[in-house]
Symmetry: C2
Subunit: 460 residues, 2 copies
């Protein structure tokens, strides 16, 4: 489906695409930390410039937080329109001392490019732009109209994108949406993702005495906020790995038999996975396969905890305060707002005596399901087969992409294509995040093919 | 018992003593943190200079850690000898942002001097030196021989003092030992402490996956080290406040009826205490009074916890590691070595699947009991009555002074005098640590009286 000349153009420019990716990755656009605000802005401008060079009408659009990059390139008003979504922000790079090379000095080793944002999402997002560049270089126009929306707050839960969409519904009207922020099922097993988990993210603060106390003078008499917090966190999960918050599972849509079968058919190398993770044992719910546990079942994790003295040596105190960040991954048809309430009610109800509790909602998103049996999804499957040389599997993903639920609801678009070129072992959110240069290339090929396939599939 | 001219000398020099205390407090001698090593050394030298000015033969004595200040001043070999113990090191000042004035810029407000080390132990230690200065100024000689031992590692558990004592047993031979590191029972209720709790301090490390994981990709499949740690910490105590480690209470000597009665007679203002601590409710073992809970019962506290992301924003990870510092206060006749073993065995036995545990011993000390019905203790009671205008109560203290057990065992000295001039609400180990200037003055008076009273009480 891809003209031979476009294919050749992409082959010819491989090295240049990598050089451009390096430029993009050098910008430490850590949206969660206001110290990096200037860099985050710089990252947005990098995207604007790239789009301008492709001939896009594009600009930075202010929000209450980091700006959104919007752009469009009209090929022919009779053709269908594709909206491409990506994000130019990245996760914090901590813990810094575990990076082999610095997170914002991209380094190529053994066919991978290592940097924060390599796979999540700069590398994957860039494939969509390089594919357009190749098509435009060869034929002067795209086979369909393209709109671009690249935000800078994905890693903090896209708090300002809902309002932005609401204010720009007409401008963003589209036939298809491509989300660049997924991944393959496994290396060399490309996938179309038809489900995403949602997220409820909260912070629990515990206040004990009004200042740190000498544990000799007061130990045995004053409630310890770290121990109070530990006790509450422990009560959030049952020993079998299920979440213990009452009514947590009420709205969970059970998997259909064909979904369980598909998940069972996916190749999972448990030995290799444990080795990769460095754990002796996986833990999951009873009677759930590995794939089900990590993509189709809700769960709860403590993402961070703090309290008292964590420095060198031994300080004998009863800490005044402790806190933890707790997040839950949700599945259809759970709702983040409902789960937040259940969490707050339960934690408040189990607070031990002698301490005060404060719970704040950080961010959240609802889980997503996309209809698989539609022409646009089939077109995406053909494009992936062209780029990767094999048909994709259909999967659900454990992570959350808050924007997808918003697109579904606000833009009324049901043709949402979730296809990632990276691999689950790329280390998104971890030290030494990476992206395979081969996947980068196959991603550009697949994306180029997608533009043609979508146009061919369009039924108006 | 104190010559009138000595009393007058002490009254006359009150302001100068405070100025000297300020000098001592300006030195940030944080022994737990190697970044402060130079300051810790400077603090030791300050003590040496002070003693030299009194006419002591004194010097810094090297150990494997911070040096010990040793000195002696012989008055007459036929007189008894008193060994004075103190420490020139202080606790870390964190959390820094809770100090009203900087921890190493002593500030006087409302009759208190505020600084790290004000009460623990620089201010209290200094009373012994200023009292000698006054006596020497008036009469040219002390009523007994004095040895001084001021160490720099009390706040890290005095790891090198045992070996130092062992190597210098003859030099440190003494009739009485005065420990300057206690406190009154409450403001204006001076006390003689005849019991101290011991300490077992350990660190628990938990290793989950080999790096931080994306909680979307792996949540529900991989054991979370923070949750594993929380679960273990929670199992260390029962809901009624008792410690849940098997056999933990085996060696606890139950209180005698007269001790329970004395503790019941001590005035405790529970309402004021709760207000001071900023808690709605005290927690303690069933059927134990407040005084028993905090001085005569063993307990367990988490002194610090860490793991995962504690920064600004919301990072969606399963942390690779978590850790906690845990300490237990011990009472006669528990032994730190035994409790350490019980702790390690129990925690190892409850480690959840999917994580690796590492437990290290930080430091410890055995609890102490001193015989109250001996002439030296009665002499100390008279000295306190002179300085404070009231008889002391007999108490046990919740904190640990590791050196006391060593003195008892290694120097074979049973006349160990534990008298503190500070108050339990001075905030030792807390932000805004302070010492009442009135207590500083009464401490100098009591100490001066003690030198005479001990000599009078001595039976050879």
């Amino acid at each position: 489906m891809l003209p031979q000349r476009v294919l050749e153009e992409i082959q010819t420019n491989r090295q240049r695409y990598v050089a451009e990716l390096k430029d993009f990755l050098r910008i430490p656009s850590v949206s969660t930390d206001s110290e990096y605000d200037k860099n985050t802005q710089e990252s947005a401008k990098w995207v604007v410039n790239k789009l301008k060079n492709l001939g896009f009408q594009t600009e930075l659009r202010e929000t209450a937080g980091h700006p959104v990059v919007c752009g469009h390139l009209v090929s022919d008003t009779s053709l269908p329109t594709l909206l491409i979504y990506g994000h130019y922000d990245v996760q914090p790079p901590d813990p810094l001392d575990e990076w082999i090379t610095p997170p914002f000095s991209p380094d190529i080793r053994d066919g991978y490019i290592y940097a924060r944002g390599a796979t999540d999402n700069k590398g994957q997002c860039l494939t969509y732009f390089e594919a357009m560049e190749a098509i435009l270089a060869v034929s002067g126009k795209l086979p369909l109209n393209v709109k671009v929306l690249v935000e800078g707050e994905e890693e903090i839960g896209s708090p300002n994108l809902g309002p932005f969409l609401q204010e720009n519904l007409n401008e963003l009207n589209t036939d298809f949406i491509a989300i660049s922020d997924g991944s393959q099922f496994a290396p060399d097993i490309p996938a179309i993702t038809y489900g995403l988990r949602g997220l409820s993210y909260l912070e629990v603060g515990v206040q004990g005495p009004r200042f740190d106390l000498h544990s000799g003078s007061f130990g045995g008499l004053v409630a310890n906020p770290v121990q109070a917090l530990s006790a509450m966190l422990t009560q959030l999960k049952n020993e079998d790995g299920t979440v213990a918050i009452p009514n947590f599972y009420n709205d969970v849509r059970e998997l259909e038999p064909r979904e369980r079968q598909e998940m069972a058919d996916l190749p999972v190398d448990e030995v290799a996975l444990k080795k990769y993770l460095g754990v002796d044992q996986l833990v999951g719910e009873p009677d759930c396969s590995i794939v089900e546990c990590k993509t189709a079942r809700p769960t709860l994790d403590v993402n961070g905890i703090w309290g008292g003295f964590a420095g060198e040596g031994a300080k004998t105190i009863i800490p005044a305060k402790a806190g933890a960040k707790v997040s839950m991954r949700l599945v259809p048809n759970q709702r983040a707002a409902t789960i937040n309430e259940l969490f707050k009610n339960f934690v408040s109800s189990i607070a031990p005596p002698g301490v005060k509790i404060q719970i704040s909602e950080m961010h959240g998103s609802d889980p997503v399901l996309v209809e698989r049996d539609q022409p646009a999804v089939q077109a995406a499957a053909r494009a992936i087969e062209f780029g990767f040389g094999k048909s994709p599997v259909y999967i659900r993903e454990g992570g959350s992409i808050p924007i997808v639920g918003l697109f579904q609801e606000m833009l009324g678009c049901k043709s949402i294509l979730l296809m990632g070129w990276g691999s689950p072992d790329d280390g998104a959110h971890s030290p030494n995040e990476r992206f395979s240069l081969e996947d980068f290339h196959r991603g550009i090929l697949s994306t180029a093919a997608l533009y043609y396939a979508l146009e061919e599939s369009f039924e108006g």
